[in-house]
Amino acid sequence: MADLGRAALAVTLLLSVYALVVGSYAAFSNRRRLATSARNALLCAFGSTLLAAGILASALYRHDFSFVYVAQHTNRTLSRAYSLSAFWGGQEGSLLLWLLVLTGYGALAVLVNRRLLRDLIAWVVPVIAGIATFFAVVLVAVASPFGTQTTPVDGVGLTPSLQNPYMVAHPPMLYLGYVGLSIPFAFAAGALLSGNTDERWIVATRRWTLAAWMFLGLGQLIGSHWAYVEVGWGGYYAWDPVENAALMPWLAATAFLHSVMIQERKGMLKVWNMVLVALAFELSIFGTFLTRSGIVQSIHSFSQSSIGGWFLGFVVLSSLFAVGLILWRLPLLKARTKLESALSREATFLYNNLLLVALCLTILWGVLFPIVTQLFRGETRTIGRPYYDFFLRGFGLPLLLLMGIGPLIAWRRTSWRALLRVLAWPIGVALVAGIALVAAGAGSSKPGLIAYTFSAFVLATIAVELIRGTRVTGSLFVLISRNRRRYGGYVVHAAVVLAAIGIAGSSAFGHTVERRLALGQSMKIDGYTLTNRGVRVTPKANVVETRAILAVTGRWNGTVESGSNQYLNPPEPSQEVGIKTDWWRAQDLYVIADDLNVNTQVIYTKVLVKPLVNLLWIGGVVFLFGSLIALWPDAREQRRLVTRLAPARA
């Protein structure tokens, strides 16, 4: 079976090369049947990749340890579900997943659009095929999932901290996002190659970009949530290079989602949009390069691996391709209209873009800093958390403010007087909120207070928009369904605000106390009293659980347990924190008990109170909801697109 898997990947490689070479030739020389043949090759490439994926999945499910990959990531005691999730638990399998999603998306995108924009699609096929060729080469020649060996008695198994529903969902969700960004990139390249540089490629890929961006955002939130409950240091984001690797393309994609609205309306920012979509795509590949190469120190990365070189080469090559293409077609990318005023919705979108890209580039600089210093100073230097926190505030807080101003400011131009009139209510609400917050003690952290006040402002503007709009249309449902992109966007803004409040609350207004507690001893934090009631050891089938039992009194009465697990197969430990969510007070009581002495019953415990942290996860749900509204298909718009862009000839 492994032979068939290898053969299937080889076929994918051949088909991708065919689609790339023949597709380019067909598009260049305007040959319809040849272009269709190249497209069919891309569709078949999905088929053969699916076959390869099926073979690997089947081997994982059956625990076929003759497959080296299966032996390395599963063992006999691992459940079927987690055995399947091991598909993306390692280098080779995750690359295969990437290729599967890429060929799948590619096949779907060209099929759905096959009657529209035919000359553009003729170029989209070779671009997607080019990306697929790279991954296929790596899978066939460098990192094959189908290596075999004499069957061992048992496999190594999956790291216990990965045996968790969040960790099962996290990589596929991220890949649906990362790989999804290849599609708008391919259409943009197709637009440039075919000379069709108007907005049609944007309109055709609008939902693809939105979906990819949604998956990337959700994937990151799932990862953060896992870090919060499983890794257990009390935080959810460490500015680790691999975490940043997902954040950067997401920020670029966010900027892109906003600026395309300007191009659709005003025919402006054509070059900027091309640059942004290429940046988002390159960052997604660069991100996976960072994760796999071991070139920067990270909790996720490992010793230097040769695969890094391949990815770096691909990033350099594809970047040169993108830059060259944009420069060549620069004359075709002239704006149709100009920006009329610095005080307009267009200008607000421009400011939003500048801030998002600035934040993205600052993070990129922080990630690259060790590499740059090594190259130029011969010494590796790293940049720490304070750098990232500073710029998150410096760029994030103005972005928060813009989220409130943007929706209420008029297109083309407005005056300060008109703007202040429309913003009167939200400003009033923000001021009242600010005063109330200071009275409640939130003045202890200035950035936190500013974040809260701005959040109140944005929520008020969204409410104003919805109320005024409903007054005109008569029904909220009608209002939203008439302009799903806009109102879905407002719901997403509300989600971002919730997340901002959650982040501000848990980082700026939290408290931490650590103590060594003998049996019966207590500690106090924020109105809670925790008492050490002893250490309990519970042996189970595959694990020995050690827990410190803490009785909590005061603001809440109950018990929290925290400690560690020692697994038997594979023999690995994991930290288990105790989290009590106090919904009434909107905060988490987070208990980390390390250093448990079973004999003396003495424990060392660190307790954190994290206000409003759950708004981050609630914001995630709202984010999903808002994205789905924006994604919801509009039958009328679709019909118009089809009749418009499909030529009269069948």
């Binding site: 390395q72 790291t159 240091w233 005023s341 980390i592």
Partner: protein, 132 residues
């Protein structure tokens, strides 16, 4: 309709503003920390990040005054073992002899005094030896 688009001016001013923020930060903030392997530590003083493999025995407790004591050697190639004294949160359960870690703190008198340990997840993306 104005004859000159203010777009260029806006962009120029915004870029200038961003750069100003950046310069202010780098001027005020401490800046970066050197990341060194144990063999590169000699001669440095002050803030460092040491990357290496943990050498046993692991003695003491990170919460006590004497701290958690262990050794650090180069991940690849030979090197002397540098002593480390670590105070702070107990390192995650992944921390063990042989694991690759990054210890942040300071270096003086041939010893690393650590305040933070990053333990790297054992290779997900690299072949480990399958059981025979």
């Amino acid at each position: 309709m104005p004859t000159r688009s203010p777009a260029r001016l806006i962009i120029a001013l915004s870029v200038a503003a961003v750069l100003a923020v950046f310069l202010v930060y780098t001027a005020l903030a401490g800046g970066s920390t050197p990341q060194l392997t144990p063999s590169q530590l000699a001669g440095h003083t002050g803030k460092v990040s040491a990357v290496g493999a943990v050498v046993g025995p692991l003695l003491g407790d990170s919460h006590s005054a004497a701290g958690l004591r262990f050794g650090l050697k180069n991940i690849t190639g030979k090197s002397a073992v540098v002593p480390v004294v670590y105070h702070g949160d107990k390192p995650p359960p992944l921390f063990a002899v042989g694991r690759h870690v990054v210890v942040s703190g300071s270096y003086a008198n041939g010893k690393v005094t650590g305040t933070d340990i990053l333990t790297k997840c054992p290779s997900k993306y690299q072949a480990s030896k399958p059981t025979a």
